[in-house]
């Protein structure tokens, strides 16, 4: 009867093997540390971008121009008031035109650790309706923004990886891949975000479902408003439908005095 014995490694070979293993482990650890550093650096970029747009409040009047795939244009107007910033904020958006949708309003309560809560008020039936999480991928009132796109992004809700650098509109930008954390509950699988190197302002966000780019948000007409570099024009393109909506920010102001009680369901009823 024969038994198979494991081959015996000579002592020198064993030492060499240990050395290779150590080197490999060492390089793995270095690689991993570089990866962590890189992730940290990318996160720092987004943190800095977020820090530079911090404001206690914001108010603007928005002109929405919806252009469908056949080139038909529909104008809408809304006013938006926001108290707080990013993941810790509340927002009320009210339509002011066209006349038949005057008074329709949306309350968004953003959370740092999870998806926002949203309610829509319809004055014609004098009722509010909560927008359920699974309904957030729906277009918001015939625009190319979905309900989810109206949420404020918070740095803590995503994981980041640097995907390269690229010149956009003549300005060098970081191209960053952001992947929503599990608690975020997003319709999008991931997004590519372009951040300007000169001002840390977002200049483009491309949202993906699996591998398909579905919506692209482009920022332009940057102006420094009360120390905050702000895009005065945003254009959301629905890449599947071939339609787009341009939002122009008018009468934009930051850091206005606002009260918490103006961001409740009761306040939503008031025009």
């Amino acid at each position: 009867m024969s038994s198979r014995q494991p081959p015996v490694m000579p002592a020198a070979a064993r030492r060499l093997s240990t050395c290779v293993c150590l080197l490999f482990a060492c390089s793995l650890s270095r690689l991993s540390s570089v990866a962590v550093d890189a992730a940290d650096n990318v996160r720092q970029i987004v943190e800095e971008a977020q820090r530079r747009t911090d404001a206690t409040s914001q108010r603007y009047e928005g002109l929405l121009q919806v252009l469908d795939s056949k080139g038909k244009l529909a104008d809408k107007r809304w006013t938006l008031e926001r108290l707080g910033a990013h993941g810790d904020s509340k927002m009320v958006l009210r339509f002011t035109a066209p006349a038949e949708v005057k008074g329709v309003a949306l309350l968004v309560v953003n959370h740092p650790d999870r998806a926002s809560d949203q309610w829509m008020w319809t004055p014609a039936i004098e009722r509010d309706r909560r927008i359920a999480l699974q309904d957030r991928s729906t277009r918001f009132f015939g625009t190319d923004f979905s309900f989810e796109d109206l949420e404020e992004r918070d740095v803590d809700q995503y994981d980041y990886a640097l995907a390269g650098e690229e010149v956009v509109d003549g300005v060098m930008c970081w191209r960053i891949q952001s992947t929503p954390k599990q608690t975020k509950s997003s319709q999008y699988t991931r997004a590519l975000v372009w951040v300007r190197k000169d001002t840390y302002a977002f200049t483009r966000i491309e949202n993906y479902i699996k591998t398909q780019a579905v919506r692209r948000l482009t920022y332009s007409d940057f102006q420094n408003v009360q120390g905050i570099w702000t895009a005065r024009r945003l254009e959301m393109a629905d890449l599947r439908r071939g339609s787009r909506t341009a939002l122009t920010l008018e009468k934009l102001q930051y850091n206005l005095p606002m009260k918490t009680e103006d961001f409740t369901l009761q306040a939503l009823r008031r025009p």
Binding site: A99, K102, A132, L133, T138, E261, A267, P271
Partner: protein, 420 residues
């Protein structure tokens, strides 16, 4: 001083303050004044005559203007006025300004809303004629007790405002609401000599005469506690007042050629609840209420609705079941569209074709198959102000069923609205 004169004085006071605020507002404070309104023409064509109505075309005209004034951050005034006309006698001929919405006909000129809202921290106080909507489900909403409707056209009923004091307190995710209604606003019933009052062919020789309608004197009240959790909501509500839908007593007159229809509004206590729970695929909504009464002869019953809803792409789709359990059967006959739509499968769907065009559909089918109601509409906007809507209402079933009794009232219609 009577209760009525006190409230009339209060209404006059609010009107004066509102008018003075509107009058003194300048363009420089334009952000504190808002308005919206529309003018609408609506025509309906009924291909079939009924035993008591051979008018096949009915045209409505409605002009509405609503104004909102916020003189300071803690108070707001709201006012709205309606002016109406109708080709089939639905509207009073007198042009007095109506405030109480108690007439059998729609007023030609009426105060639709007149209220002030005071806010202080988490507290909101609404005073005056206002709309109060409770509940979450559609088509049938059992807990919506402060929402009388105009049922002159049973399936196109608009809500009527109630004169009330409403206090709302909100603390984090909890909302507590208390409502006190000093005078009663009834739902407006169909006119007795027209097609929305179904009369058996054997009795068309008898004229139906509007008898007395003693309105309840006592005030009504209700409380509601609502909790908005992380992704779900629920509420409990209690109401003590009167049914805004009447019980009916039919009395033959001495000459035997006329029947007098007397309406009465039974006392009603309601204990109810509603909830909405989003799941991965749809939102589940439920609402149930138990109705008890101290009025002899009136029914006691439970109404409940279970409904699923999903918004996907350009579609909003919902469907469910509305049920009724009668716990004590009374002897009264009643006009009750809310109960008439129960024991039914209900559904609704809408689709936005593009930013300016949409289609919508809703239906209720009685589980017994004795009645069906379905409404479809196609609507489109032109420019920034005009909306045109084509609609079709299908009604069918057996004469003894609430829906089926309107089997000859299927109709087509067109409405044209200019909003400003």
């Amino acid at each position: 001083m009577t209760g009525r004169s006190v409230w009339l004085r209060l209404a006059t006071f609010i009107s004066c303050v509102l008018i003075s605020c509107l009058g003194s507002s300048r363009p420089s404070v334009a952000q504190t004044v808002a308005q919206r309104g529309f003018v609408e023409a609506r025509g309906a064509f009924f291909p079939q005559d009924t035993s008591n109505d051979s008018q096949n075309t009915v045209v409505d005209l409605l002009a509405r203007e609503e104004a909102f004034v916020l003189p300071t951050s803690w108070i707001q005034f709201a006012a709205a006025i309606d002016a109406r006309a109708n080709s089939h006698g639905h509207v009073e001929s007198s042009w007095h300004l109506d405030f109480r919405d108690r007439g059998r006909l729609r007023p030609a000129l009426s105060v639709r809303r007149l209220s002030s809202t005071l806010t202080h921290g988490p507290m909101t106080l609404d005073l005056g004629k206002q709309f109060i909507r409770w509940g979450k489900t559609d088509i049938v909403t059992p807990t919506d007790r402060f929402a009388p409707r105009d049922f002159i056209d049973v399936f196109a009923g608009e809500f009527l405002a109630v004169t009330a004091v409403r206090l709302t307190l909100q603390a984090r995710d909890e909302t507590f609401e208390a409502v006190w209604v000093p005078f009663f606003t009834p739902s407006r019933m169909p006119l007795f000599n027209q097609r929305w009052t179904a009369v058996p062919p054997s009795e068309t020789a008898l004229a139906l005469i509007d008898g007395q309608a003693p309105f309840p004197e006592r005030a009504q009240a209700g409380v509601r506690w609502a909790h908005a959790g992380n992704g779900y909501e629920y509420a409990l509500s209690y109401f003590d007042g009167f049914n805004h839908l009447p019980d009916i007593v039919v009395r033959p007159r001495a000459d035997a050629l006329e029947l007098e229809i007397e309406r009465s509004y039974p006392a009603l206590r309601m204990l109810g609840g509603d909830a909405a729970l989003p799941t991965r695929w749809f939102t589940a909504k439920g609402e149930a209420a138990y109705f008890a009464t101290s009025t002899p002869g009136a029914d006691e019953y439970v109404l409940y609705v279970l409904q699923l809803e999903r918004q996907t792409g350009e579609w909003l789709i919902g469907g469910g079941y509305a049920g009724e359990v009668v716990t004590r059967r009374g002897t009264s006959v009643n006009f009750a569209p809310d109960r008439g739509l129960t024991r039914s499968v209900t559904g609704h769907a809408s689709y936005a074709i593009d930013p300016s065009r949409s289609v919508a559909f809703e239906c209720a089918i009685r589980q017994s198959g004795a009645g069906v109601y379905a409404k479809g509409e196609y609507s489109w906007t032109t420019g920034q102000h005009w909306r045109t809507t084509l609609f079709a209402v299908l009604l069918g079933g057996r004469a003894e069923d609430f829906l089926g009794q309107y089997q000859r009232n299927s109709h087509l219609g067109l409405s044209l609205r200019y909003s400003f």
